[in-house]
């Protein structure tokens, strides 16, 4: 199946004045030191095998990641869908660059610390009573990762590059944002499954 590059027509290139070129950082550089501190902290937690630190990284990262996905997918996504184009773009240029740093950091914290925690607690063992719940969580996370890396992130980055053009293509931005809103909704719904699985593991 071949994809076709979208032709630029007179209609789609006629952007309102509010869509004039915006100068913003696609990756907010001032946030990188914070990300570095968080990631180094996680490596130290794993290297020192500190149960509290690993537990903290998994619970804090997982709680924030789940809350973010639920909020973006089920609350903010539908709101964005009803906003005017210029308002959507105004929001997106401020929100999406931050998400480029926040979400991957939370995912790394949660999964990295989570695997080590399961190892410490002996949950990885095949005879563990929660082994099947762990398998279910791997599958849910695998599907979410495929959607996030394969669809959501490319749409997110492409929108940001489009917005930095002298004349952004409005139709293309709308199409890519639709991908973003739908995929955020799907991952939000899948986070409900994660909540069920994790609370089952914690209470078994």
């Amino acid at each position: 199946m071949a994809t076709v590059a979208e032709p630029i027509t007179a209609q789609t290139t006629t952007a309102p004045a509010s869509l004039a070129r915006r100068d913003f950082q696609i990756v907010p550089l001032q946030g990188l030191p914070v990300v570095a501190v968080v990631i180094v902290g996680m490596v130290v937690a794993i290297a020192t095998n500190s149960h509290w630190a690993i537990d903290f990284y998994h619970v804090a990262g997982g709680g924030l990641w789940t809350a973010f996905d639920l909020f973006l997918g089920l609350v903010l996504g539908p709101i964005i869908g009803t906003m005017s184009i210029s308002s959507r773009i105004e929001l997106v240029t401020r929100l999406m660059p931050k998400l480029v740093l926040i979400v991957p950091t939370l995912v790394t914290m949660t999964l990295g610390a989570g695997f080590q925690l399961a190892r410490q607690l002996g949950n990885l063992a095949p005879h563990s009573p929660v082994h099947n719940w762990l398998l279910a969580s791997y599958i849910v996370v695998g599907v979410m990762a495929t959607i996030a890396i394969g669809l959501l992130e490319p749409a997110n980055i492409a929108v940001l590059f489009e917005l930095r053009k002298p004349v952004p293509n409005v139709a293309r931005i709308q199409r890519l944002m639709k991908v973003f809103i739908y995929t955020a909704g799907i991952t939000g719904l899948m986070q409900i499954a994660t909540l069920v699985i994790m609370t089952k593991i914690a209470s078994t």
Partner: protein, 145 residues
């Protein structure tokens, strides 16, 4: 009887506008194969992991990655500057992520052929994502002059 409505006239296409190979779809397929291999491996740890399925998944992912590289190299006019810019920085990020995961594998006493397979899966994953993101952005840019 319905009257025939002529198609609205379309504006001029950008240089190089035309069919592009399914690089994005193939890259997503590579992610699916690698994630499946990761789930299969994690489901068996810390016991012995049967290597046949993981080697098959890794080989299929590597072949698709190679196909993507060939398809990418055959694209005519394309914005290679933006592709390199995006793919380059994404590669830097994924080298860090893959390095951390490799550290965790070794820290968790993964050794021998299992370590080789996991390292191969990481390498394919690390190279696939920059191609996916670089292509996803560059395809919407005017080709290099």
């Amino acid at each position: 009887m319905e009257a025939h409505v002529p198609e609205a006239p379309r504006g001029p296409a950008v240089p190089g506008d035309g069919p592009l190979p399914p690089i994005q779809q193939i890259a997503v397929a590579v992610i699916v194969l690698i994630v499946s291999g990761g789930i299969f491996t994690a489901a068996h740890l810390p016991r012995h992991v049967p290597q046949g399925p993981t080697i098959a998944l890794l080989a299929a992912a590597a072949v698709l990655l190679a196909v993507n590289v060939v398809l990418l190299s055959r694209i005519g006019p394309f914005n290679w500057r933006v592709f390199r810019q995006v793919a380059g920085w994404v590669l830097v990020a994924y080298v860090v992520i893959a390095g951390m995961l490799e550290y965790v594998f070794i820290y968790d006493q993964t050794r021998g052929s299992q370590l080789v397979i996991l390292t191969g899966m990481l390498a394919v994953f690390m190279l696939n994502i920059p191609i996916l993101l670089g292509f996803s952005v560059a395809r919407f840019q005017a080709p290099d002059s």
